[in-house]
């Protein structure tokens, strides 16, 4: 382990930890905004109680997402100074725009929402959570445009010993960033949908607040079905984009060693990196990969052997993560479809085993989101900026192994502790269910402006 390895490990861990909280924030903010908007439109107190209950879980989750986000911005400079110096002219801009356009909006209006219950009108209060949802998702766009540039650098020239921006619009409309964004937010909505479905199912199994949790379930089921379909569609478009711009990543995702036309997909296979082959390839679906990746049956796909060994990503983790993510996505589609049907027919109670299954499914979309990022980031290796700069060249020169080891241990301990507390609190308040004392809820919302 050297400074590069430890810095990579630290970045991966802190990023993955941050990303436990982000997807739920992205999706649940929209659901809570919808609930409160419905309350303002209909005056139905059920929606107010939903807003309060899911809002409370949203906030417990939100807190850790915010505080762990600062780490990401600091680490570019702390551990990846050579990278930051080399690409700051172009990479810093989306980050600064994210802060000014989105992060301010989100952080200011989350305060208004939490503390403004009896200070502003109902409409203004609902508007503030809508702004939070909008800003959170916009924030994701700028972050993914920054990441998209690392995956597929555009709009720059190499000049004065660094990458300099020459075309801001190219950076802003980088197709890689936009398609990543679409795939990411829809996948995040899947997390939020299954979060609400799982907790609602848990309460429905116990016959707690049946009307409340049926309504929540119904809303989340539809949201989840739309999200999982979009996630699949955008994932497909994304894979085509990856095939065009990062062929080595696509080859690793499919463990494809030789360049071929009319490439199929083997349902079961396992890559053997040392011998540049697969241990076994079973149940072949002919031409499917060509069709998916090039949208033509006989499309040619580059194999890993066409890339020098030191320019190939680690095949096994990228391949396995990709496979597992796809499998999970299919499972979510099926479950979301059933959830919509059963909640529409109002026959959820008749299928307790389905409800139980949903409770246990709750963590899986989180896993799928993490796996997607493993594919994206490990699949980009050995490049920190695809084709321009190697990860090993991006690390800070001034930091020592001891410093990074100490900070890594610090992060693991602090994050471990805070993560455990946060999950404990989420479970505690999720189990407790909504407040039953309606009168106190209504009193705290001022009726006029």
């Amino acid at each position: 382990m050297d400074v590069v390895d430890l810095s990579r490990l630290q970045f991966a861990l802190t990023c993955a930890f941050h990303f436990i909280f982000v997807p739920l924030t992205l999706g649940l903010s929209i659901l809570v905004a919808f609930m409160e908007t419905r309350y303002v439109q209909t005056g139905d107190e059920l929606y107010l109680r939903m807003t309060k209950f899911w809002g409370k879980l949203f906030l417990i989750n939100f807190a850790l997402g915010v505080v762990t986000g600062i780490t990401m911005e600091f680490q570019f400079g702390m551990n990846w100074a050579e990278y930051s110096r080399y690409v700051g002219d172009i990479f810093g801009a989306p980050l600064a725009i994210e802060a000014t356009s989105s992060f301010f909006l989100e952080s200011v209006f989350i305060g208004v929402w939490v503390f403004g219950w009896n200070k502003i009108s109902r409409k203004a209060h609902a508007a503030s959570i809508c702004l939070v949802a909008f800003a959170t998702n916009l924030s994701g766009l700028w972050i993914l445009l920054a990441n998209g540039w690392m995956q597929h650098p555009v709009g720059y020239v190499l000049r004065n010993g660094r990458a300099e921006m020459v075309d801001f619009l190219a950076v802003t409309f980088n197709p890689n960033g936009w398609i990543k964004f679409a795939h990411q937010i829809s996948s995040a909505y899947v997390v939020a949908a299954f979060f609400v479905l799982g907790i609602s199912a848990w309460h429905l199994l116990r016959k707690n607040e049946t009307a409340f949790f049926k309504a929540s379930f119904k809303m989340a089921a539809l949201f989840g079905l739309v999200a999982v379909i979009l996630s699949g569609l955008t994932g497909d478009i994304h894979a085509v984009e990856v095939g065009k711009t990062q062929p080595a990543k696509l080859a690793a995702m499919e463990a494809l060693w030789d360049t071929q036309k009319t490439v199929g997909i083997n349902l079961l296979q396992l890559p053997d990196t040392d011998h540049e082959r697969n241990y076994f390839e079973l149940i072949k679906l002919p031409s499917l990969l060509s069709l998916l990746a090039t949208h033509s049956l006989d499309g040619e796909i580059k194999g890993l052997k066409d890339f020098p060994k030191d320019e190939r990503p680690p095949v096994l983790p990228v391949f396995l993560s990709f496979r597992l993510m796809i499998g999970l996505g299919m499972l979510f589609s099926l479950l979301a479809f059933l959830a919509v049907i059963l909640s529409r027919l109002d026959s959820l109670e008749r299928y307790p085993r389905f409800l139980k299954l949903l409770v246990f499914t709750l963590p899986l979309p989180y896993l799928a989101n993490q796996l997607g990022w493993i594919v994206a980031e490990m699949g980009r290796q050995p490049w920190i900026v695809y084709g321009i700069m190697k990860t090993s060249d991006g690390v800070s020169k001034s930091i020592t192994l001891g410093q990074v080891a100490a900070s890594l241990v610090g992060f693991v301990l602090l994050y471990g502790l805070l993560g455990a507390i946060d999950i404990y609190l989420l479970i505690k308040f999720a189990r407790k269910g909504p407040d039953s004392d309606l009168s106190s809820l209504i009193d705290t919302t001022k009726r006029e402006a």
Partner: protein, 342 residues
């Protein structure tokens, strides 16, 4: 050329506003254990901060992001050279954020007092670390062609420490005044006393800082070359004295305004002295990082200027609106009424 000066100014303003806004949050966090005695009083203190702390912290994120976008070389070297100090800062800010959110979530006195203590430490450390860091930036970092020759311990020099203590005391006074405007009854009375009591050592340390700055840094070079600039530190001193004048008269909001101005003007004094350096080298001025040799390309700066012109007025507008919505002092009843309160 001109764009680089504009961004030096904007960079300075972001830091100054961040210190002014987070300064009272950090100061209130340090004082919470002293001005509040009962659980409800402690809740009142953190609920005065609730609607604003997160939005205030974003000024730091933006200052960081703007350093990255406008002065990438400075961002890269500053953050990697000050690795351990920034790590401690990061950990403190993380703990502070969750302390607000977690404290009220379990109804157990030991749990609450744990987070009260966490809030104290995680408010004190950033104040000290920011002060020590900026003291060292004023002084210059030991860097040359071979890179950085300092360490965490080399930051802990007498001048760095004086600046650190200056920041801590500035924020304590500022936080005490914020709480005296934003609370009522006993908490208000104790906050006023805390601010008055901390003002005297603040005056002493501010005087020491000003005098010590002459031999310890090159900040005075710019002021001696352009004596008209001395109006900035002069106004800083006047605002500092103004705090006491208003306190004696019992005018709390003007006193808080004076402490806000003091923080802005202390930072202004520092950056006017630094210009055009962002980080001077204490070894060889040829290796100083300046607004001119560490900036982004003119194209990027132009884009970023457009972004600033577009978004800063909007940000300021809704921030002002929020401070107006939440201008009334927080009472025990307010905290009890809002189930989502901290």
């Amino acid at each position: 050329m001109e764009l680089q000066i504009i961004w030096f100014v904007l960079w300075s303003i972001l830091w100054a506003v961040y210190f002014m806004l987070d300064g009272f949050v950090l100061g209130s966090g340090m004082l919470q254990n002293f001005v509040a005695r009962s659980d409800i009083e402690r809740r009142v203190v953190i609920n005065t901060l609730g609607p604003v702390w997160d939005g205030n912290e974003v000024w730091l994120i933006t200052a960081g992001g703007v350093t990255f976008a406008a002065f990438p070389t400075t961002y890269a070297l500053m953050f990697s050279y000050l690795y351990t100090a920034l790590l401690l800062l990061l950990f403190s800010l993380i703990v502070r954020g969750v302390a607000f959110e977690f404290r009220g979530k379990v109804d157990d006195p030991r749990w609450k007092s744990l987070w009260d203590r966490a809030l104290l430490v995680s408010s004190f450390l950033p104040a000290l670390l920011f002060g020590v860091t900026f003291g060292n930036l004023f002084r210059g970092l030991p860097m040359d062609a071979a890179g950085y020759h300092g360490s965490l311990m080399s930051l802990v020099n007498p001048y760095g420490l004086v600046t650190g203590i200056l920041f801590v005391l500035l924020f304590v006074v500022h936080g005490g005044l914020y709480l005296s405007v934003k609370t009522t009854g006993a908490v208000k009375a104790r906050s006023v006393s805390a601010a008055s009591a901390a003002w005297i050592p603040l005056l002493v340390v501010a005087g020491a800082f000003l005098i010590y700055t002459y031999p310890a840094t090159h900040l005075f070079d710019n002021f001696l070359a352009h004596p008209g600039l001395l109006v900035v530190p002069l106004l800083a001193v006047l605002s500092l004295l103004g705090i006491k004048v208003f306190l004696v008269k019992g005018k709390l909001l003007p006193a808080f305004t004076a402490s806000s101005l003091t923080i802005l003007l202390v930072v202004a004094t520092g950056v006017v002295g630094l210009f055009p350096n962002l980080i001077p080298s204490s070894l060889d001025t040829r290796y100083s990082l300046t607004a001119f040799n560490s900036s982004s390309s003119p194209y990027t700066l132009k884009i970023m200027t457009g972004v600033a012109i577009l978004f800063l007025p909007i940000i300021i507008a809704y921030k002002v609106w929020v401070y107006r919505v939440f201008r009334a002092p927080v009472t025990n009843q307010d905290v009890l009424d809002n189930k989502q309160a901290y």
